[in-house]
């Protein structure tokens, strides 16, 4: 184990594992968020958000999540920088046809996702955690909850916010289409039979997660 991270392949492994961990997180995140548009009140969402914000297991996972994002970005930055240094003089005519389409834009989509992540955290996470003045309280069955659902609904009534979310989520989708299957190859899992299945699952996953997340601001804007 000792100095595995000093090797390029070791860093790639961390990126792949953290990337897949983030992929799993997105499913949970999406599941809870969909409660907002599939239920007429914000109660289900608020209760779920309360659970996610207070449950000790989830809180421990949250530390892992932020650590994962940090490591993923850190190693992505180091490896990408080395890639640029490895070709100081480029070609007059670059190789375009042979490089798989989505892999070309990993850095671009990563930057979109990273900027979005900051905006998104300030939008909801920071308010929910640290700026309770922005959030009203609601009472269900005698227990007090933060009305985060209403906070989200109000935010997604603003046109430009919805547009920013949609663009960023498309960026995320592009990132995942290459990232999901790439992570398996990085982990050494490539097989003539199973790899096409992994690629298909990754594609379906990416499209479903992207459309699922996009549906939320769009549905709130038009129908709530």
């Amino acid at each position: 184990m000792s100095n595995v991270f000093t090797f390029s392949i070791g860093k790639k492994l961390v990126m792949a594992l953290m990337g897949l961990f983030l992929c799993a997180f997105l499913v949970v995140h999406l599941g809870i968020n969909l409660a907002l548009i599939f239920s007429s009140t914000t109660e289900a969402f608020n209760k779920a958000a309360h659970f996610m914000g207070t449950n000790p297991v989830v809180k421990a996972m949250e530390i892992g999540l932020f650590g994962g994002i940090f490591l993923h970005i850190l190693y992505a930055a180091i490896l990408t920088l080395k890639n640029w240094i490895a070709r100081p003089v480029g070609y007059k005519i670059g190789n375009n046809q042979q490089t798989s389409f989505f892999s070309k834009y990993m850095v671009h989509t990563a930057v979109i996702v990273a900027i979005f992540l900051v905006l998104h955290l300030f939008d909801f996470y920071v308010k929910a955690k640290f700026q309770h003045g922005f959030v009203n309280d609601v009472v269900y069955d005698g227990k007090t909850y933060h009305d985060l659902g209403t906070l989200v609904l109000e935010r997604f009534k603003i046109g430009w916010v919805v547009v920013v979310y949609v663009i960023a989520l498309l960026g995320l989708g592009f990132h995942l289409i290459h990232g999901f299957q790439s992570a398996f190859q990085t982990m050494g899992l490539n097989h003539p039979v199973y790899t096409p299945i992994i690629k298909a699952v990754g594609y379906i996953y990416s499209v479903a997660v992207t459309l699922g997340f996009i549906a939320i601001p769009v549905a709130v804007y038009f129908f709530k």
Binding site: V4, F7, I9, L13, L79, I85, A86, Q98, Q185, G188
Partner: protein, 247 residues
């Protein structure tokens, strides 16, 4: 065929290079790409236009790995599964403009014109791309049983001629396909298993050290490899590496 050639000219490793435009006429579609360049050079010398264009080559039959030109944005040009020396002019059309560049990667510095220094690959091989054996009597060929599947996979990997097209075509200038081919070739054979752990660590470490980029699984290398080596071998390299470092 009449062609316009835009060729990278650079007097030496430190000189500033630039593209020069030349024309060649009456090229037979049956001539090879390197023969076309020979005709150009003959013309440059006879007409006193310029010094001949330097390019690497040796066997001219696709087995030595010396040739390697980046032609119209493709390592070894537009044909699939062939080296530059096996590329023929019939793949181009009369009147075409062909842009010819050297391999571009920091660990492959230009020596002159289209010739690059690929000793970085030799350094990786010297770090572990071999099997240590004591010399002695010739062992019986069938004394060590090797399954057909492993023998075939090892043979596919061994097809690598170390030309550097994988590095040249990778957007990250990564040498993973080259290193993978060497590591995988030995890892599939009993003779290679003895030194497997040290080999993969040392070769990957050398690959990083000499300054190649990192694989992001773009697939360009396997598409451009003249020996059509699959990135299945890169996955094998990753597994070998994890087995050596983690397990």
């Amino acid at each position: 065929m009449d062609l316009t050639l835009k060729i990278w000219r650079q007097a030496n490793a430190t000189a500033k290079g630039k593209f020069e435009t030349y024309t060649v006429k009456n090229i037979s579609p049956d001539s090879s790409f390197l023969e076309m360049l020979d005709i150009l050079n003959q013309q440059l010398i006879e007409d006193n236009i310029a010094t001949p264009v330097c390019f690497d080559h040796d066997c001219r039959e696709g087995i030595c790995g010396m040739c390697g030109l980046y032609i119209n944005g493709r390592a070894h040009g537009p044909d699939k599964g062939v080296t530059t020396c096996q590329l023929h002019m019939r793949k181009f059309k009369d009147g075409d403009t062909i842009v010819i560049e050297p391999w571009r990667a920091k660990p492959f510095p230009i020596i002159k014109d289209l010739v690059v220094d690929r000793t970085a690959f030799d350094k990786i091989i010297a770090a572990g791309g071999y099997v240590s054996v004591n010399t002695g009597g010739i062992p019986d060929a069938n004394a060590i049983p090797i399954s057909k599947k492993d023998a075939d996979t090892a043979m596919d990997a061994a097809a690598c001629i170390g030309c550097g097209a994988c590095v040249a075509s990778c957007k990250n200038a990564s040498a993973m396909l080259f290193v993978a081919a060497k590591v995988s070739q030995f890892a599939h054979l009993p003779q290679g298993k003895v030194e497997a752990k040290e080999r993969v660590k040392n070769m990957v470490s050398k690959m990083d050290e000499v300054g190649f980029g990192n694989c992001t699984n773009t697939g360009a290398c396997e598409a451009e490899c003249p020996k059509e080596i699959s990135i299945l071998h890169i996955a094998k390299l990753n597994r070998e590496f994890f087995a050596a470092k983690i397990c």
